[in-house]
């Protein structure tokens, strides 16, 4: 993989530095080590800051080879977002709207994996602004696992970020966040869609810190 221009990397450092400063983010590598293996990190999604924080939680070397997957409709809207999304975060942009998309998002993700990049995905498909702890998973994570069954899927629970920056708020609160990395899982040979989605969701929920 060729190295990106210094300005884009510097912007990335600034974003991740700011995210770490605001959230005091602490990474707990509970189920696996921070090693540069080909992985799909999947996390709960409650805030716009989620992928920045997860990206910031990775060691610098791994950050360059790990790309967040994000909605093209949002990140292609204007020049600034396009620069931040595509250049700074090096995001894999997918078309979320099923009716008028030209390319299959699963194919785009699989291609990025084949090119040697690990991915960050949010299998709930949208930001969780409800009182529910975790929304049901969309089938995308299963279809990606079907397409690339040799890749490790690592659950990551992001705790407290929904309180740092709830939907619709502009000022972030400087609360402390933790990211807990769980044990990698792979799609079983005989495993069906519901089984896999349930297993992945349970693995993610099991990482939630027990406070009260």
């Amino acid at each position: 993989m060729t190295s990106r221009p210094w300005f884009e990397r510097l912007c990335g450092q600034l974003f991740t530095g700011f995210a770490r400063l605001v959230t005091g983010a602490r990474s707990i590598w509970q189920g696996c080590a921070p090693e540069p293996e080909l992985r799909v990190y999947f996390a709960n999604h409650a805030s716009h800051g989620d992928f920045v924080l997860l990206w910031a939680a990775l060691p610098t070397g791994m950050r360059e080879t790990t790309r967040p997957v994000a909605g093209a409709d949002y990140w292609r809207k204007d020049g600034i977002r396009r620069f931040i999304g595509e250049k700074v975060f090096n995001a894999v942009l997918i078309e979320r709207n099923g009716t008028d998309r030209s390319v299959d998002p699963i194919e785009v993700m699989a291609d990025a994996l084949d090119a040697g990049s690990s991915l960050i995905i949010f299998p709930e498909g949208t930001r969780n602004t409800t009182d529910a702890v975790l929304l049901p998973f969309k089938s995308g994570i299963f279809r990606l696992a079907q397409r690339r069954p040799q890749v490790d899927f690592v659950p990551v629970w992001i705790d407290n970020l929904n309180r740092v920056m709830p939907k619709g708020e502009i000022i972030p609160l400087p609360l402390l966040c933790t990211l807990t990395f769980g044990t990698p899982l792979r799609l079983g040979a005989e495993e069906g869609k519901t089984e896999f989605l349930d297993r992945a969701r349970d693995a993610l929920l099991a990482l939630k810190p027990m406070v009260n």
């Binding site: 309180r163 709830p166 000022i171 609160l173 400087p174 609360l175 402390l176 406070v211 009260n212």
Partner: protein
Amino acid sequence: MAPEHHTLALFCGVLAVLLLATGIGQLIARRTAAGGPNAVVQNLNARINAWWVMVGVLALAFLFGKGGVVVLFGLCAFAALREFITLTPTRRGDHYALALAFFVILPVQFWLVQIEWYGLYAIFIPVYVFLLLPVIAALRGDTSRFMERIAEVQWALMICVYCLSHVPALLTLPIAGYEGRGLLLIAFLVLVVQASDVLQYVWGKLFGRHKVAPALSPSKTWEGLIGGVLSATALGAALWWVTPFAPHEAALLAFVSCLMGFFGGLVMSAIKRDRGVKDWGQSIAGHGGFLDRLDSIVFSAPVFFHLTRYFWTI
């Protein structure tokens, strides 16, 4: 010894104690190395190492005088408040109130201390903020657990911001014959209260048998409490020459401060227990979070401040 050398003498003393502690810590580590890694010894040495950093930061703040101390304790208050609110179950409706607490109320309180406006910094949070915060939360319209949420945020501000701001506020006390030496009063309070914590730990580890409050904390013992508070009181009396107090007065104030510090640790342990955590955070290696280190100071500072203000100021 001239008064201007007191600060230097005090820091040299602290440095000597730290060197001694580091030596003993390393000795114990070497002695116990044969038995494999020992969690208690590792934690002891992590604590000692963190003390070097904390003393260094405090010394740096002292070099900058009043502004340095106000900024240092302002930052400590920020870290403490952040740890407290992180473990408090607030709701989305509290967002404005909390943003206000972190970014307006906290800086204003410490700025009031900096400009020495006693009449306002003494009542700003207990009166004005106390009345303002529920209004803001009410305007957001979320009524669930309303009373609980308001009370918890107010309490967090009182503990982490208001009480802690009384440490730099010691610099604003006009004491006859003690002009320009307020920093030493802070050094006295911080040294005595923190020494009390350390000595309680040491006495408890060496002789602790009977638990004071088994439901709250497994590490607080009567032996640790009595040994720690009495030896810290003796330290306070021995340090009378840096204060405006006579030796017996210094002992009495040290005793009250250490006792308040102990109660502070007890109260904060009760909250941690209720929230199901052992420490407030992980920022200070070996110690836990900022609040774990500051809980005793928070409870002793306002009492020490007002006792000094009532009996010694002009």
